[in-house]
Amino acid sequence: MSMIKQLFKYKLFLFGAVLIGGTFLASLFYLVFFNDQIPSSPLLYDENGRPLHAPYSGSVYPPFGTDEFGRDIAIVMLVGAKYTIGAAFLISLLRVVPAIFIGIFMQFYLKGIKRPLKSIADSLTYFPITLLAFLLLNWVSLRGVLYEEGAPPSSIQIIIYVAVLSLIFIPLNSVLIANEVELIYNKEFIACSRTLGAGKWRIITKHIRPFLVPQLWIILIREFIQTLILMSHLGILSIFIGGVVFKENLFGNMEPVSLSSEWAGTLGMWWGYLWTSYPWIAFIPIGLITLLILAAKGMLDSLEHMLATEQPVQVERAKKEDDASMAKLAPFQLLRMRDD
């Protein structure tokens, strides 16, 4: 408890937590009370009474304007927020929690396979993660829809998306956590405790846990940031959470459209606007994702800073002799008292 209390003293942490939590709650609120209705703007006219064509800019239709279908961008973003944050959080949880058990198990029972496993996990470094995730999801979400050959329904697609993005990271994280456990295990007090007869279970739950848990928080937030980046990459490659539909856009081309309007998907969808005369539309989703990532990074930095400066055990300082009473003494009084 005290850890969280201390953390909230950091302005950056507070800012990050409030931003992420607030956005998520606001988006959830909109789902519960307005059922995710995205208002479409009516046809708007300029001052001469001539109709303007969508997308409208922010000055005509505040605050962010509309997209090419006349949907209010601010509301689209608000609706997508909960899917973005929720999916990223869920994926990072699924990356870390199983890895804890596998990592500890590996460290205590399968020490022999750690080195070969690490080398094989090494090869993941040279297989770009974005490419791997794209290749694994390509058929399921994009090409399957394109050729309409038994593409699984939306809910299954979400499950596959989350599973792929979390499972490919579990080996790396397991090795990482096993290394972390090894570092703690090599501390002196653990050897001491083992000579006193502590079993593995006691060492894990009583001695390793207090050191491991803060590290796990750090890993979790880091994974959250990485997941967001990976999701935005997949968005550029037209792989969206919750599936794709094809709609005709402004230029009469068939464009993939994200069903859930989550940020990473809209980012990929709207990237092309950069080359049109509506470049601000391309900036909105990437700007929001950047903000989200910076908020998480702020939390991460505060957490790391706190752990680096924190005193593990609060030692009560010895009380200093009262300076005032000392001042009253005449020079060399203490010595003279001894002589008397």
């Binding site: 993941l124 490419l131 290749l135 990459h233 950069l274 080359w275």
Partner: protein
């Protein structure tokens, strides 16, 4: 001898991992088929095509089979040039930036490191969009195109992708070096060097940098990871005809494995060479 055998073994492990992963990807090319036999036959196919790469072929847009080597080397060297120059540029920029800020007073140093730590988290897509829009905006205002924003068939764009790709990794390198140097500055030999009147730049480049090289080296792998992942997206956005675009166009297990192992080869050689050089000149064994 044992050390060089270790290095070779490492190449073998990574290649093996890449083959496994490619064979695994092969299970997802037509729906999801979690089938052990298909996995094994994929591995066999990959091994066969690695043994005789001349037989690697793709189905062209007109339905005919072509050998991949019509354009492959073109793609390959283009990607490699961008990747390696971005990697070296990131290292160089990181080191230079660190040199300029190392000797700042304590409070300025802290604020710099805090800012860098936040900036380093910026997603690469954000950097790309700002740079692309900046160049476009400048073009609209003045009519001169600073750099080609995207490649075309004949006209390859180098400067912009390399700069954009190197920007975030260089901040990462910078931050790592900054902290390593701060640790190093507290050591006794630095005091001795200072008292002998060695200039700051000599101290930094000759002594400190040399001592922190192994640590930089061990951090450089996470930079490679970041660069590779960004490369995939950069090729898409800058319209670069590189190997990752090639893989995305022809996602066959044997082509994926062949291309990635071939792409790993120069990285591996660079690392092996660096290990050798650093081992000879500083006497420190590198762990990677």
């Amino acid at each position: 001898m044992a050390a060089s055998f270790d290095i070779l073994l490492r190449f073998f492990y990574v290649a093996l991992g890449l083959i496994f992963l490619s064979a695994f990807v092969g299970l997802f090319t037509e729906g999801i088929q979690l089938d052990g036999w298909l996995f094994l036959s994929n591995i066999r196919g990959i091994l066969e095509s690695l043994a005789s790469p001349d037989l690697l072929s793709v189905i062209g847009p007109n339905g005919k089979e072509y050998t991949i080597f019509l354009q492959f080397w073109d793609y390959y060297f283009y990607s490699l040039a961008i990747f390696l120059s971005a990697f070296l540029l990131a290292l160089g920029m990181g080191i230079l930036l660190a040199y300029f800020t190392t000797y700042l007073p304590e409070n300025r140093f802290n604020s710099v490191s805090k800012t860098v730590s936040l900036l380093e988290a910026l997603p690469d897509l954000f950097i790309i969009i700002v740079i692309q829009f900046g160049v476009l905006f400048y073009f609209k205002q003045t009519g001169t195109l600073l750099f080609p924003v995207a490649s075309t068939g004949q006209n390859k764009s180098y400067v912009l992708p390399i700069l954009a790709l190197a920007l975030i990794p260089s901040l990462m390198v910078y931050k790592v070096i900054l902290f390593l140097v701060r640790d190093e500055l507290g050591k006794l030999y630095v005091n001795l060097a200072k008292s002998k009147g060695i200039t700051k730049s000599t101290l930094f480049f000759r002594h400190i940098l040399r001592n922190i090289t192994p640590s930089i080296f061990s951090h450089s792998k996470s930079i490679l990871l970041l660069l590779l992942s960004s490369m995939v997206i950069f090729e898409q956005i800058f319209n670069i005809n590189g190997i990752f675009t090639f893989i995305i166009t022809y996602p066959e297990p044997d082509i994926i494995a062949f291309t990635l192992i071939l792409f790993y080869l120069p990285i591996f050689l660079l690392y092996a060479l660096l290990t050798l050089i650093i081992g000879k000149t500083t006497g420190q064994r590198l762990e990677w």
